[in-house]
Assembly symmetry: C2
Homo-oligomer: 201 residues x 2
């Protein structure tokens, strides 16, 4: 697997520390059907992964500095309750953010992938936020912001898909596949925000 660093703090993909998703592989297949995610999308995600491989730092830097920094209701989730920056939190989560781009494109969508989706979701919800890095920050990322913010990520990642000179049709298909995957991941993440008492996931 292509990694942005040999060691990424708090990155537990494929290990028992990543927790467990109760989503079945059959439910994953249904989710792919609902999103229209096909083998062709998988193929274009592999291509996108190669295109992104040496750009992940630039992409995450752009998201942090040019976008998140200008949206106060999003910025605060990586800051202390007193709105102070937390450099070590940012450094670690940025590396995981970078790796997430590659995982989205290059990992097989299997049991490990489902488990890590659950781990990512928990780390945004009150169940686990701040714990991985031992920091003081907001208790959770509101579900609405997680959902809404992906549109900005999807929009602004597109130019990076053009960086290797692929033709516009290929860029469009890579982008389409990316957007579908992100939406499927959101569909998985929302489960961590529901309660067993009313699980209409």
């Amino acid at each position: 697997m292509t990694m942005v660093r040999e060691e990424i703090p708090g990155y537990s993909y494929g290990t028992s520390a990543a927790g467990h998703s109760s989503v079945t592989l059959r439910e994953l297949e249904e989710l792919k059907a609902s999103a229209g995610f096909t083998e062709e999308d998988e193929k274009y995600l592999r291509l996108a992964g190669q295109v992104f491989a040496d750009q992940t730092a630039a992409i995450v830097r752009y998201w942090r500095n040019e976008i998140i920094a200008h949206i106060p209701n999003v910025t605060r989730h990586s800051r202390s309750p007193e709105a102070e920056p937390i450099p070590n939190y940012l450094a670690a989560s940025n590396l995981r953010f970078e790796q997430w781009i590659l995982d989205t494109c290059l990992r097989p969508y299997d049991r490990d992938w489902l488990d890590y989706q659950q781990e990512i979701a928990l780390r945004h919800s009150s169940v686990e936020k701040n714990r991985t890095d031992g920091v003081r920050s907001t208790n959770y990322v509101p579900l609405r912001d997680a959902l809404a913010f992906t549109t900005l990520m999807n929009e602004t990642i597109k130019p990076y898909l053009r960086a290797k000179g692929d033709d516009e049709d290929t860029v469009e298909r890579m982008h389409q596949a990316w957007c579908k995957s992100v939406q499927m991941q959101l569909a998985l993440w929302v489960r961590a925000y529901l309660t067993p008492a009313r699980d209409e996931w």
Copy 2:
């Protein structure tokens, strides 16, 4: 307001029957910021509304017959528990589906709009599904399917944006604005699936 029919069964936009959203206008502004939804997007949605105006029936027909019909885990939500079609349910909900396309493009995003987003969400959740039309069907649309399915809607609505001969840049901007709006609406809808006991919306 442009309406697909003078009378649409169960369509209660702007009336007291539409219920009430607890989302504030300030939260809506924050949501727009998180999604990067700007006045330019509003402008392009108005354009898209004009492009869609005489195509809503064709679009919904396409979604129903060419997409939903081929995804069993989505089809079942408009059928009886015995998987029988329910023609009057389909007829009414298709008209509301058509009108939703126009509302997305042409309505101001204000108090009435927020209230109707809540109403739409409740009608997909166990709180209100089937009640508007007095039918027997699945108890709710699983949140994951509502989220995932929008990718197929977004993908397949794009050709209809080209129908009036707009240049590709305009089509792209209209589509971008459409996708942002749909994602903001999803961000609003998820609230109806959370419980007050753990509201990390």
